[in-house]
């Protein structure tokens, strides 16, 4: 008898099921949290303290032991499907559907952490094998190390209770850094992306290019014609134009400029490679302005003339009068420059004569300048030269950069080479609470942060882990949520540039 009583009372000792009377009375429960009073500093044996402690404890137990009681009509019903580890909703979802859950095959589903959170809020009743699950059942069945761990659920619940929208992070659905660079709209289907076709250079317009210079030549020729309307002179412009027209027609005159740029500029009289280039050294151009005043001009080479045209000696006496042969009066400065230029005739310089092309001439000039500037040979002629030539202008910023031993880097440098590790991975995307009104599950947009859950028992994330996570996250900050037996601390790493007091 006594034993029976003992077991009955023992049973009741742990019974937390409310009677229908208690359930009914729960409607008029208070929904306010009692405020916690001031704490004492040091325990003395006073009765007052003991009483206050007892009061606090009683209030604490009252709060903790309160059970969740809800109207059946207010509860959304769901069923736990262990094989897929999701909860299938059996009654229409409530307001939480805006930010939680997903649809598939016409049915509504919730992820286990979302379902557990809603169970704790008293909005959802999940059944399994036709019996309702308690919160303890939910914790034990929904949370496991391979799906959502207890620590991850703690962070999830903490953020949801603050109002954030928290979704699982899916690394494959993140656009790559290249796609982000192109600023592509986030589209799921591959067909949506239009790749830009590379335009190949079109081969057609060169003939028009060839035509216009010829036209220009003809226009130019009209002017000299008026000045020198002898039979010889117009012949030359004409031959010029005909020649150019002929060349343009063959489309070779301009084109040979390009490949011949690298070729020797050495005049090779009559060489076949000169093809359409005229050997101007062989064509005498009469100098009508120099001293000497020729009265006649020799006839040109018959090869330059079109067939059937013979030209005699040309008397240019009458034309010489029309040419302005006045001495050019130069200003003092110009005269000075002329004298200086004439003194050092570049062409008489033997070193210059030895240069075979412009490149060599430039080298000569450079060498001369170097010698002139006084750059000591022992510094500049060896393998290791000074970082900077003091005579060259350089900005302070560039100079600082040249002499810097430590270069600053940013977090993402070298991050693309890192492979992901099992230990550190991003768990959640977190979106801000004020975006809940117009939040779309299908297109949530860029998250506010991403969470990586770890604990104080585990290792501190090293640079490798931070780089890899930052790279995986893209331009969204990664926050480490460190769980410590109920306390959650949030840490993040940000790039920082040391200030340089330099104006570039």
């Amino acid at each position: 008898m006594a034993d029976q009583n003992k077991t009955e009372s023992a049973n009741n000792f742990y019974n937390e099921i409310l009677s229908p009377c208690e359930l009914f009375a729960a409607r008029s429960r208070s929904h306010k949290l009692p405020a916690r009073g001031q704490k004492d500093f040091y325990p003395d044996d006073s009765e007052e303290q003991r009483q206050r402690l007892q009061q606090s404890l009683d209030e604490h137990w009252r709060l903790i032991s309160e059970e969740r009681v809800e109207r059946l009509g207010n509860l959304v019903k769901g069923v736990w499907i262990p094989s897929d580890r999701i909860v299938e909703l059996q009654s229409p979802a409530g307001k939480f559907w805006q930010t939680m859950g997903f649809s598939a095959e016409g049915k509504q589903y919730l992820l286990p952490e979302e379902a557990l959170y809603l169970m704790e809020c008293g909005n959802l009743l999940v059944s399994h094998q036709d019996l309702p699950l308690s919160i303890q059942d939910g914790y034990e069945m929904f949370l496991s190390a391979d799906a959502v761990s207890l620590q991850q659920y703690q962070v999830f619940g903490h953020l949801k209770r603050l109002g954030y929208v928290v979704h699982r992070f899916d690394p494959s659905s993140e656009p790559s850094s290249y796609a982000r660079q192109l600023n592509l709209p986030p589209s799921r289907e591959r067909g949506g992306r239009q790749l830009k076709r590379k335009r190949s250079p079109s081969p057609t317009p060169t003939c028009s290019k060839g035509e216009s210079p010829a036209e220009k030549m003809e226009e130019d020729d009209k002017l000299p014609e008026s000045h020198l309307p002898t039979s010889a002179e117009p012949a030359e412009p004409q031959s010029c134009s005909s020649g150019s027209a002929g060349e343009a027609g063959a489309r070779t005159w301009w084109m040979t400029d390009v490949p011949d740029r690298q070729a020797d500029k050495r005049p090779s009289p009559g060489s076949p490679s000169a093809r359409s280039r005229w050997n101007f050294s062989a064509i005498p151009f009469p100098d009508l302005g120099s001293t000497g005043r020729p009265r006649t001009v020799a006839p040109p080479d018959p090869s330059l003339l079109p067939g059937g045209v013979t030209v005699g000696v040309c008397d240019v006496a009458s034309w010489m009068q029309k040419v302005n042969l006045r001495e050019v009066r130069m200003s003092g400065k110009e005269e000075e420059r002329e004298r200086r230029g004439r003194r050092r005739d570049v062409n008489k310089d033997r070193e210059v004569q030895r240069c075979r092309n412009w490149a060599e001439y430039h080298e000569l000039l450079a060498r001369r300048q170097a010698a002139r500037e006084g750059r000591p040979a022992h510094l500049w002629s060896g393998e290791v030269t000074p970082l900077h030539d003091p005579t060259q202008p350089i900005s302070t910023a560039e100079l600082l950069e040249k002499i810097s031993v430590i270069t600053s880097t940013n977090l993402l440098e070298g991050a693309s080479r890192l492979k992901g590790s099992e230990e550190w991975r991003i768990c959640f995307n977190v979106y801000q609470p004020d975006s809940v009104a117009d939040f779309k599950k299908s297109n949530p947009g860029k998250p506010y942060t991403r969470m990586c859950v770890c604990s104080f028992d585990g290792p501190v994330p090293d640079l490798r882990a931070i780089k890899q996570l930052a790279f995986q996250s893209g331009d969204v900050l990664v926050v480490f949520a460190v769980v410590d037996h109920g306390d959650i601390s949030f840490y993040t790493f940000k790039d920082f540039q040391l200030p340089r007091d330099v104006f570039p």
């Binding site: 742990y14 402690l53 303890q136």
Partner: protein
């Protein structure tokens, strides 16, 4: 350095005595020891172990200031309970035994609850009607109003419906139907897997925990404060923490920068830092750090 002055546990009340000898049922969730039943929480609190609440508080689930069940135990707390033989692993939800019998019982209970609640609801409406009628017809009294009242009440009784959707249902926190398992001490050795590797650091932590708990201090975890434990002179509900305990083995060397860090932190949060090292022959050595000016 001498150990700081401590408090002795007050005399055990008879209720406390019963609960402190009771065995607490632990449930494993993702290899973490959780307590779900209210009596277990009370038992554990009465033996001076605080733990940490993890779940949402049923009254106000959308805030983080006060949390509700389950209670997570520190590994040191769990080990202490195990050594005192006052903890047992509760069986997991029995998947096989769930058959139609349980479901039938559940449905019957729900039906019974519905009937009782409809009666209670009707009573509630009746009394509300009575109150309304008597307050409105203040001074008037007589047979006339009485009859009207009776009529109204009768009509109420006939037309009253209590919809199924208005039924108040409980969403249990702890798994229902588990009886007190005092005889489950046998569970301990059998079911409890050795879950943590015993490193010297863990051993040091446990020795310090046991010593401080034995002196009457309450300890919680102190990751946020850069230490191992926060040491309270009394129940954390009523007192502020006085110390941050950092546990080290005697032969472990600590670099000066770490000492500076933790000392600085301690002075910022107005707590004394205790460097604790258990000696192999028993007593724990405590060194407190005090930030003094330049002398």
């Amino acid at each position: 350095m001498e150990a700081p002055p401590c408090r002795q546990l007050g005399e055990l009340q008879p209720e406390q005595e019963r609960s402190s000898s009771a065995v607490v049922g632990l449930s494993l969730c993702d290899s973490a020891p959780l307590l779900w039943r209210i009596q277990d929480l009370k038992t554990v609190r009465s033996s001076g172990l605080v733990g940490a609440l993890l779940g949402a508080l049923p009254r106000t689930p959308r805030q983080n200031i006060r949390l509700g069940r389950p209670l997570l135990l520190l590994p040191e707390e769990e080990r202490l309970l195990r050594e005192r033989h006052s903890a047992a692993a509760l069986p997991a939800r029995n998947q096989d035994a769930v058959g139609t019998e349980l479901q039938q019982r559940y449905e019957e209970e729900e039906q019974r609850s519905y009937e009782e609640q409809s009666i209670l609801a009707l009573e509630d409406r009746r009394s509300a009607l009575l109150r309304a009628m008597t307050s409105s017809s203040g001074s008037e009294c007589g047979a006339g109003s009485d009859e009207a009242l009776q009529g109204r009440l009768l009509a109420l009784g006939q037309n009253f419906t209590f919809p199924r959707s208005a039924l108040a249902v409980q969403l249990s926190t702890a798994r229902a139907g588990l009886s007190h398992c005092q005889e489950a001490r046998a569970f301990l050795q059998a079911d409890w897997p050795i879950r943590e590797q015993d490193s010297p650091r863990r051993e040091a932590r446990y020795q310090v925990f046991r010593d401080l708990r034995g002196r009457g201090f309450f300890l919680t975890s102190a990751g946020k404060f850069g230490g191992d434990f926060l040491v309270y002179p009394g129940d954390p509900l009523r007192f502020h923490a006085h110390f941050i305990a950092v546990c080290l083995t005697l032969d472990e060397s600590i670099c000066m920068l770490d000492v500076l860090c933790v000392a600085r932190l301690g002075s910022n949060v107005k707590k004394t830092v205790l460097l604790c090292s258990p000696a192999p022959d028993g007593p724990v050595h405590y060194t407190s750090l005090q930030w003094s000016g330049m002398v």
